[in-house]
């Protein structure tokens, strides 16, 4: 009897142990194909009176360098005054192609507010993981606060708003060290031939012509786009939309020219393993004549190089087309910004906070970071005067004839991954332009046939 009692106790203990070690489901079903309606106009939240009850919201946002920390801190300080009962718990965004946020979505653990780019918006809207903000755009009068030229950053192609934007249509710029050019008797190139000549001269003098942080794939795409837009203003955007093929003359020539420039020594050795810090250091220490980055680089480069640095218009296809194409820029904006989880406990508050943060984020960039390329209007005095490069850009913005997109702003994820990989390969010297055209067109044809 005692023996059976002992055995029974042992079995009970073992089963308790087994069940306690198996992860219990938390009831959050990642399978979102439910009847729940995530539209902001339906359903009821557990709203408390936001004026009185302290509310804690999780926010997933970039917080890596001054360009992201300063605006975020500025917006947070403003939020504390505007909505003192709201506390934000920051979950720093990882630079991981959206892995972390997509994992959050899959596990039903999305933060209340998160920064979303077009890729995230497109992925999340089909699986009901992002709140439609149309109602809130109207409620907060957000559209009236937008720059007319930046309206493309507010609404996606389906006409809905999924994120409150702060960044405007940003641009790819080709920075150059004026002193290096002058010392070596090189004129700022206005055409491809002049650029090729400049590359050869700099190489002969032991100067790196272009410092490119090609370990990140987007600069490789941007470099390709710079050349492509000299003949086709729509650049990679046309390919992304499926309207173009890389075998078209403009893209083929762009690829051929990049290969030629790389063989002539355009890039530092091991460029595909250079990160931003290394490439920027080469440029700022005067070892490289040119540098490619977004216009947000103006602040940092001016701080180090002062008057020695400027940006140039992209070298044209040939000298005769320089004036007509100089305002066709690479880069651009798209729907992105602060988005809200449809499962946020305090949806209305989260949407209000998201809208407020985006306005203040943009305000800080405009007034304190010397960056006028924002999505929303700002009614505050400029604290930090614009550096000369930004002044020059500000005067050119109204003249811009076309923009394209940054790699992260491309709508088709498969095309984005392919063009990132193949443009990076183009910079190695062992990958021919013909292979690039063939491989990229194969991808575009596959995308077209699957649509």
């Amino acid at each position: 009897m005692k023996k059976y009692f002992t055995k029974a106790i042992i079995m009970v203990l073992v089963f308790i142990l087994a069940f306690s070690m198996v992860a219990c489901g938390n009831g959050k079903n990642a399978d979102i194909n439910k009847e729940e309606n995530i539209s902001a106009t339906q359903g009821k939240n557990n709203e408390e009176k936001e004026e009185s009850k302290p509310i804690k919201l999780r926010i997933y946002a970039q917080y890596a360098d001054d360009d992201t920390k300063v605006p975020y801190d500025y917006a947070l300080e403003a939020l504390k005054k505007e909505m003192p009962n709201v506390e934000l718990e920051l979950d720093v965004q990882a630079q991981d192609d959206g892995q972390k946020i997509k994992t959050y979505a899959a596990t039903g653990n999305l933060p209340d507010i998160f920064q979303a780019n077009l890729d995230i918006i497109n992925t999340f809207r089909t699986s009901n993981n992002i709140l439609v903000l149309d109602e809130y755009v109207e409620k907060f009068g957000f559209e009236e606060k937008m720059h007319p030229s930046a309206m493309n950053t507010l609404y996606t192609d389906d006409g809905h708003c999924y994120a409150f934007p702060y960044a405007g249509n940003e641009l790819v710029l080709l920075y150059y060290n004026k002193e290096i050019f002058e010392q070596n008797g090189v004129e700022v190139p206005k055409s491809y031939d002049q650029l090729l000549q400049a590359v050869k001269i700099f190489n002969s003098k032991g100067i790196i012509p272009l410092a490119l942080f090609a370990k990140e794939k987007w600069p490789c795409v941007a470099l390709f786009d710079i050349f492509a837009t000299r003949m086709e203003p729509q650049g990679i955007k046309k390919l992304d939309s499926g309207e173009g093929r890389v075998s078209e003359e403009s893209y083929t020539i762009a690829a051929q020219r990049i290969v030629e420039l790389v063989k002539a020594g355009l890039l530092p050795k091991g460029a595909t393993n250079l990160n931003y810090d290394q490439a920027a250091a080469l440029f700022r220490q005067g070892k490289a004549a040119m540098f490619l980055n977004g216009q947000w680089e103006i602040e940092a480069s001016t701080e180090v190089l002062g008057d020695k640095v400027d940006w140039m218009y992209y070298p044209a296809y040939d000298l005769s087309t320089y004036e007509s194409t100089k305002y066709a820029f690479s880069g651009g904006g798209g729907p992105s910004g602060y988005a809200v989880s449809p499962r946020a406990k305090y949806k209305d508050v989260a949407a209000e906070v998201a809208a407020f943060l985006s306005l203040k984020y943009a305000e800080c960039k405009y007034t304190m970071r010397g960056n006028p390329i924002i999505a929303t209007k700002v009614d505050a005095p400029i604290v930090k005067p614009y550096p000369p490069m930004m002044e020059k850009l500000s005067q050119d913005i109204p003249k811009i004839t076309s923009t394209t997109a940054f790699a992260w702003g491309l709508a088709n994820a498969k095309f984005k991954a392919a063009i990132e990989d193949h443009t990076q390969k183009l910079l190695t010297g062992f990958y021919s332009a013909e292979d690039f055209v063939k491989d990229m067109d194969k991808v575009l044809n596959e995308i077209a046939s699957s649509n």
């Binding site: 070690m21 089909t126 050795k269 091991g270 393993n273 062992f430 990958y431």
Partner: protein, 293 residues
Amino acid sequence: MYKYLRNKVAILIFTLPALIVFSVIVFYPIIQTFYKSMFDWNGLGKGTFIFLDNYKRLLKDSIFHISIRNGLIFAAVLAVLQIGIGTFLAFAVSDIALKGRNFLRITYFIPVVLSITVVCQLWLSIYNEEFGLINKLMEQLGFLYRQNWLSSEKSAIYAVAVVNAWQYMGYHFALILAAVKSLPEQYFEAARIDGAGKIKAHISITIPLLYETYKFCLILAVTGGLNAFANMYIMTNGGPGDVTYTLTFLMYRSAFRVNEFGYGCAAAAVLVIECLLATIIINKSFRRKQITY
């Protein structure tokens, strides 16, 4: 004790918790992966059942072919370097005549405990084409040879594999050393009496007796090579282009860059089958009668 070992119910009860944990954490996700590989799925919705279309697509995908080839290269490099150098060092350290054995034993194991990020950053500096140790050493020695270690289509995957081999060689060294230490001394005494030198003794006695250890080390090296991801993610991000892709990297790309989780699961399923096949082949190749003297 005999009574308990005969009691199958007791055995089942005591192994059940571990079995449940293993099933939940290992077996169930594998089954799920195979299941989801038959869907066109973005990781968030329900997905569309497409049966084997993902596998058909994989077979035509050039990135898949590159990944398979790189996985095999990686596995081969790990097997040769980790086991080869591990064996040499273990035999050397097991020799009591060698001074500083204890220090060497610890030193060889240090890379194993380092963070993979630290190791990769270290080797990124060593491989740097402009200022790296290897190219600079060539320059100092007067050689003209320079190599774009991580940017070259030919050398990139080997360069990354060497990093992994270097880091985990100490692990195989420790395993082989422990096995060598466990061998009875009388075999070596007998060999010495018969006039065998150290090398002959190792070839004729040590290596045959370490058969099971080598089998285990080979399985670890090969499956580790096929599964490689972290090194290429940190050092090259799969690049330049897709030159250093492996199946795990293809999985990552499909899932997180292209939002094709179903396709990524198909790559994962192929990887599981590949590792399983490798293990079966190695087990079959190493199957023979236990050697006793």
